[in-house]
């Protein structure tokens, strides 16, 4: 039960960066044992705020109080000492070390203090305890990079919990979790509440916020707009506060008039990964692929795109079989893949916006081997405008853009190749509500211009809202297919979990 006394108080916090006022007079208070949501679009200042609390940034003005005492959080170590722990979206695990080593990194139980010899038995034992408290079945000696993304995140959470924090900040913790794992996370959060540990919960998934949070603070453009009790605030109201406008119809209504068949995959098989995957997509149609983590949806997309080899099966474009052995082949046949992990697979962070946008279609801009830089920039500017990519400068490096804009850059790159079949893998992951809507609108435009879209997504509302047809995959094969009209979340989940249509 929530103790009414605040553990953390922020008062009139100001934080400036060159050219940007990131936080402007922000106040926040988090009570002991409270789960406090932090909402806002990307760029609203959530990230800056949590970095200020966790000691990465120091505020230019304002006061922070922990347990009623005024403090200066000089660095993350100081924050940890105060009992503030943070779990970021980008994991901070050492991929080549084991789970146990990661959780207790720097705090390993020692057998001989003087020689720093690690007590391995104690290390494993303590790790098991921590994992058990979250009901996680992960081998403490497993190598982190061999674990799936979802499991890695659970290790991150276990690590933070093991630090005996009194406030845990979770930044988009459920982005890569299945609903089963999300339930377990919520159970763990409930246990934290019982221990009077506070949680700052940063997420775009408002239904989760409704499920687990007590209060929510909404930021917009660096200021604190409101702090509301979650139970008595509707999602629409929360969205309105975040965006400042009413957002009905997140998903653009469109008349879907699917035409002829564009892409057909038949019996795609790769030993141990894909088992006879067969489906088709028509022009003007969005086919959503749902499934739990590990159902090999991304692998399917990669196989179609020629990144991974296949043992048997055919790919047909407009009825004609095509040989796709590498991404270059796929691109030439008009297929595009917008990957799941932007940072690792989608953008060239150190290159400029325009260089990113034209990269996959350079042949179009070269005359006798020489690139026409002026035409490249022109074309890039056209896309920046038409896709409303928020940057004033084409030369800006893409890593400096927000997640949503980065995604648009990736999409622009593919639009440049005149692709007709788009494979989207988690197209709106890590993007704020406003950004999501723009991506959905984009997809709508693509469809109306005659493209065919395959959309892999773990956000069921997204799948249900956008797809004309929904496929459900489980462990490398398609276990169910639904039309938009008869699909429900339960049916999809059922199929994904049990494999029955």
């Amino acid at each position: 039960m929530t103790d009414a006394s605040p553990f953390l108080q922020l008062h009139a916090i100001v934080k400036r960066f060159p050219g940007v006022l990131a936080l402007n007079d922000v106040g926040l208070d988090v009570r002991r044992g409270e789960v406090h949501a932090l909402l806002g679009e990307n760029g609203a200042g959530k990230s800056t705020l949590i970095k200020t609390v966790s000691g990465v940034y120091r505020p230019d003005n304002g006061e922070i109080r922990v347990d009623g005492r005024s403090v200066h959080i000089r660095n993350p170590h100081a924050a940890q000492a105060l009992g503030i722990s943070t779990i970021y979206q980008e994991f901070t695990l050492a991929p080549d070390m084991t789970v146990a080593e990661n959780i207790f990194l720097g705090r390993e139980p020692l057998r001989l203090r003087a020689l720093s010899i690690v007590d391995r038995k104690a290390l494993i034992r303590q790790t098991r305890d921590v994992l058990a408290s979250l009901d996680l079945h992960i081998d403490p000696e497993a190598i982190v990079k061999d674990l799936g993304v979802a499991q890695q995140q659970m290790v991150e959470i276990a690590k933070a919990l093991s630090l005996d924090a009194r406030l845990i900040i979770m930044d988009e913790p459920t982005a890569t979790l299945t609903s089963h794992e999300i339930d377990r996370l919520f159970e763990a959060i409930a246990r934290l509440k019982q221990r009077n540990v506070a949680v700052i919960y940063v997420s775009h998934r408002l239904d989760e916020v409704k499920a687990v949070c007590d209060r929510a603070t909404i930021l917009r453009d660096g200021t604190c707009v409101a702090t509301v009790p979650v139970a008595s605030t509707t999602i629409d109201e929360m969205i309105r506060l975040m965006v400042g406008r009413d957002l009905k119809d997140k998903f653009p209504k469109r008349q879907s008039e699917p035409r002829e068949e564009m892409l057909r995959v038949e019996q795609l098989t790769r030993k141990g990964v894909l088992h006879g995957v067969t489906f088709s997509v028509r022009r003007g149609e969005i086919v959503g692929i749902a499934g739990l983590v590990g159902s090999k949806r991304t692998e399917t997309a990669r196989a179609i795109f020629g990144v991974d080899p296949i043992d048997s099966g055919r790919i047909l474009l407009r009825g004609k079989p095509v040989n796709v052995r590498r991404p270059g082949d796929a691109i030439r046949h008009g297929i595009a893949l917008v990957p799941e992990d932007r940072k690792r697979h989608g953008i060239f962070g150190t290159l400029s916006v325009w260089e990113n946008v034209v990269l996959s279609a350079l042949r179009r801009f070269s005359r006798r081997g020489i690139l026409d830089v002026r035409r490249e920039k022109q074309r890039a500017q056209e896309f920046v405008t038409s896709l409303r990519i928020a940057t004033t400068d084409l030369e800006k490096r893409v890593l400096e853009l927000s997640g949503g804009n980065q995604q648009k850059v990736v999409i622009a790159k593919w639009l440049n190749t005149n692709a007709e079949v788009f494979l989207f893998d988690e197209p709106t992951r890590g993007i704020d509500v406003g950004g999501k809507i723009e991506v959905y609108k984009l997809m709508g435009e693509l469809i109306s211009r005659g493209a065919a879209i395959v959309m892999i997504s773990s956000e069921l509302p997204e799948i249900l809202g956008l797809s004309d047809r929904i496929l459900v995959m489980r462990e490398g094969s398609i276990c169910g297919e639904f039309d938009r009209a008869d699909a429900t979340e339960e049916k999809i989940l059922n199929c994904a979990l049990r494999g029955a249509a």
């Binding site: 080549d96 070390m97 080593e101 690690v118 190598i143």
Partner: protein
């Protein structure tokens, strides 16, 4: 705590490559019989200038002008060149001249010596004295100096260019023959010899080694050369090559060394193999470790050059030329032999710089 997760495939290819590389390097050193010799004057076709070479060169009168001399030598890593440096600098002081002393950092830094000569030409020195890092490699630089009107004096290690005013060195031919004679007398009953010739491409390594072989063949036919290797003039190279020789040839009776840095290393190898005293080792020059090993009986004899004299004559030749006095085209500095018996009777003033003298830092 870290696991080694690399795929097997990644390890085998570099291993193969490394093995291949080692094989190549190993094979590369040995076979030289069919290779063309460079920069050497064949011992029995000596030009008239050499047979009439001068063996003494007195100090000229102190000039009225303070000449600027540029000196370029291969390195300063052993007492031979330090002694030579002392010769240049001390003699220049006596003659009121200023010396810029440059060293290339080793026989493998040919491009550095070429650059240094170019820099000397650019700073318009009055004369250049060069001990060449490589015979053929310095031709361009020497000719550039000559074209710029700067006389070039060639000391100790010869350049292939003929645009030099004079060549001052030990009679390398005699050095080789002296080592052969010593070896031949000691191994009267016959024996097997290996050669550590020294730095490839240098006149001294070529001439001395060839003379050694020729003399053995002529006077001591039952002393056979089993193998020879070139290397940089360092004890580390000598040690390595001698250890390899001891492994390759079970019966070695004698070791020839073109210079003495390799001898120092070879002596350590011989000691380490417990064969000190049972192998006849000859060398050239007289660094401190050479002296020590001669006392211990590991090195049997060393032919001593007079590097300080070489330095002095180099400066004298430059000043004489600049003062428009005649300079003989070939000059041979004197030689001595050091053995355990005569070690303490040697006059070392023409060999080594005085104790405690260090060359100016360059």
């Amino acid at each position: 705590m870290f696991r080694w997760n690399e795929a097997r495939r990644v390890k085998t290819l570099p291993t193969l490559m490394a093995t291949a590389a080692l094989l190549l390097v190993g094979c590369g050193r040995g076979t030289q019989s069919s290779q063309e010799r460079t920069s050497s004057v064949a011992p029995d076709e000596r030009p008239a200038a050499e047979t009439q070479a001068v063996t003494d060169f007195a100090r000229p009168a102190r000039p009225s002008k303070a000449y600027r001399l540029g000196v370029s030598i291969p390195h300063l890593a052993n007492p031979h060149y330090v002694g030579q440096a002392y010769g240049y600098i001390d003699e220049a002081q006596n003659l009121g001249a200023q010396v810029t002393l440059l060293e290339a950092g080793g026989y493998e830094h040919l491009d550095k010596q070429v650059s240094q000569i170019e820099d000397l030409i650019a700073s318009k020195v009055d004369a250049i004295i060069i001990a060449a890092v490589s015979g053929p490699g310095t031709v361009g630089a020497v000719e550039a100096a000559a074209a710029a009107g700067i006389p070039v004096i060639n000391v100790n290690v010869m350049t292939d260019s003929d645009k030099v005013v004079t060549r001052i060195r030990s009679d390398d031919d005699v050095i080789g023959r002296m080592q052969a004679d010593f070896m031949g007398e000691r191994l009267k009953a016959g024996g097997n010899v290996v050669m550590l010739r020294g730095a490839p491409g240098t006149s001294w390594a070529e001439i001395r080694g060839n003379a050694f072989r020729k003399q053995l063949a002529a006077k001591y036919p039952n002393v056979k050369v089993l193998g020879e290797q070139y290397s940089q003039s360092t004890p580390a190279d000598g040690l390595r090559l001698m250890e390899d020789f001891l492994q390759t040839y079970p019966q070695i009776n004698g070791v020839y060394n073109g210079a003495d840095s390799t001898a120092v290393g070879a002596a350590q190898a011989v000691k380490g193999a417990g064969k000190a005293g049972s192998i006849v080792m000859t060398a050239t020059d007289f660094q401190l470790d050479t002296e020590k090993f001669i006392r211990e009986g590991v090195i049997s004899a060393s032919v001593l050059q007079q590097p300080v004299t070489m330095g002095r004559w180099g400066v004298r030749a430059a000043i004489s030329y600049l003062e428009k006095k005649p300079v003989p085209p070939v000059m041979f500095t004197g030689l001595m032999t050091a053995t355990k018996e005569n070690l303490d009777t040697l006059d070392l003033s023409t060999l080594r710089a005085p104790a405690g003298w260090t060359p100016p830092a360059r």
